[in-house]
């Protein structure tokens, strides 16, 4: 069995004077301290990629910098699903007996090191170089296309999307490290400037600096927090090659993760779902079984996803308001779920959750990882 024995993070936002490595080191040091482990006890290292520090061997680069000599180390790339994919791999490595204490870490300083304009240009390049990029799309444009089709088929409105931006902002307000905490209204989201129709500024996550880390161990820690289930699916890379933008067939991935954990959907107490855009969050909730098609916003309005609801959702504020620092942004969902399950979420703490369901999405609904975390 594999257990999360410690988590750590930095605040998200504009963090001047940092580098991806220095941010990763801050989060890693916190995670090690929480796990009660010394550097020489870390025998495995998984890290993501950093847009501000493209390097062929980021894991060994970080290991040398931080002072680790792991027996197993490499970077991993699955876009926004990288954080969840690293946790799944860490679980498998521990279960296989390969490692006893793996550090999973990611950090980036896209905002101060690169700037929003440069990040937007760079990120657009994940589109197809020959058959998409020549038309001048952006990541919001890829998701704008997804949104147009999904909303058309399932009767979702722009106000439905806006509800999710408002909820994430409400949740971020209680997190001391969140990038955006000022409350917003549905009307303000709808009136925010157009980016890629139907998506507006407040439907889109920001560009942030920040880092997150966690330690996955063979020994059960005090928090008794087990990585109970995991599953992946990778249906396409490019939005223009996706089979159906109104049905991504992710129910099977979510169900396999829940079966792996031996739980049903009714056992879930907490949700941490990737939210690069409001539409991403709405679709993923409906795909993974937490709302019927076209009804996620109705469930939100009924209070289901609020901090005191049946399924509290992204209680740190998600990518939309806590912030999006590349791979660390996806890892932040997992760090928050771990804190909630451990009862250490402070003012954000929801009532005694035991089971969390998480889902990460990379590319344009391209790479998917579902996870179940459970307090034993």
């Amino acid at each position: 069995m594999a257990w999360i024995s410690g988590v750590g993070d930095t605040e998200f936002g504009r963090l001047e004077g940092e580098t991806p490595l220095s941010l990763m080191a801050r989060a890693a040091a916190d995670a090690l301290a929480e796990a009660g482990l010394e550097r020489n006890e870390i025998d495995g290292l998984l890290c993501g990629y950093a847009a501000s520090l493209p390097h062929l061997m980021l894991a060994t680069l970080f290991a040398e910098y931080f002072g680790l000599k792991p027996r197993y180390a490499h970077a991993l790339q699955a876009g926004g699903a990288t954080g969840a994919a690293m946790v799944m791999l860490a679980q498998r490595l521990v279960d296989a007996g390969e490692c006893r204490n793996l550090l999973v870490v990611a950090g980036d300083n896209r905002l101060s090191g690169q700037g929003t304009d440069s990040a937007v240009t760079m990120l657009a390049q994940v589109g197809h170089q020959d058959y998409e990029v020549p038309f001048g799309p952006t990541i919001p444009a890829y998701y704008g296309l997804v949104a147009s089709r999904y909303m058309h088929v399932h009767g979702v409105s722009e106000a439905d999307l806006a509800e999710f931006a408002v909820l994430m902002r409400n949740h971020a307000a209680l997190h001391p490290g969140a990038q955006f905490k000022t409350p917003i209204s549905v009307a303000e989201v709808l009136a925010s400037r157009p980016i890629a129709a139907p998506l507006k500024l407040l439907d889109c996550c920001p560009v942030s600096d920040g880092a997150c880390a966690l330690v996955v161990s063979a020994a059960r820690g005090e928090t008794r927090l087990r990585i109970a289930g995991a599953a992946q699916v990778h249906p396409h890379q490019h939005v223009s090659a996706a089979a159906d933008l109104a049905d991504f067939a992710l129910a099977d991935c979510a169900e396999r993760a829940r079966e792996d954990a031996g739980i049903g959907i009714d056992d879930v107490d907490l949700l941490a779902i990737y939210d690069s855009f409001t539409i991403t969050l709405l679709i993923l909730l409906e795909e993974t079984g937490f709302a019927p098609r076209g009804k996620a916003a109705d469930r939100l309005r009924a209070g289901i996803f609020a901090r005191d609801g049946l399924w509290p959702l992204n209680t740190h504020g998600g990518l939309l308001s806590f912030g999006h620092s590349g791979v660390a942004g996806g890892l932040a969902h997992i760090v928050e779920a771990a804190r909630q399950l451990a009862g250490s979420a402070g003012a954000r703490q929801v009532r005694q959750p035991a089971v969390a369901f998480l889902h990460g999405d990379g590319g344009v609904m391209s790479s998917h990882v579902s996870l179940v975390l459970r307090r034993e």
Partner: protein, 126 residues
């Protein structure tokens, strides 16, 4: 030039000549838009074909926040996914305000170094 580059060049040369080139598999008959030396469905050998250029809007967005200064000069512009009658989907520019389900006809926008596929309204919703 790599294999992929040669195939992309063939596609874009077609655009410059006013032709929308795609592939059809000799073995299974599948249409394939991103050209390859093989059919991604069955592994068979594809042949080049030329589409008529008629299709239906599958998805649509209007980009206001452009990725580069060059595109910022063009903004706002509409990007579509269009289902061509021959059985493949492609990304292209579209005339302003085209909506999902509208029938469209291909044209080429010769602005810049490339002739960029762009769809115009054919008239009537399908």
């Amino acid at each position: 030039m790599s294999g992929a580059d040669a195939l992309a060049a063939h596609f874009w040369q077609g655009c410059a000549l006013g032709e929308l080139r795609y592939q059809r598999c000799r073995a299974c008959g599948a249409a394939q838009f991103h050209p390859r030396r093989f059919c991604a469905r069955c592994g068979g050998a594809p042949d080049w074909a030329v589409a008529q250029g008629l299709g239906t809007v599958y998805a649509a967005t209007r980009v206001t926040r452009a990725p580069t200064p060059d595109f910022a000069r063009l903004a706002p512009y509409d990007i579509l996914l269009v289902d061509l009658d021959e059985g493949f989907r492609m990304m292209a520019h579209g005339a302003p305000g085209l909506r999902i389900g509208e029938r469209v006809r291909l044209d080429f926008d010769r602005r810049g170094e490339r002739a960029l596929p762009r769809f115009e309204r054919l008239g009537g919703r399908s």
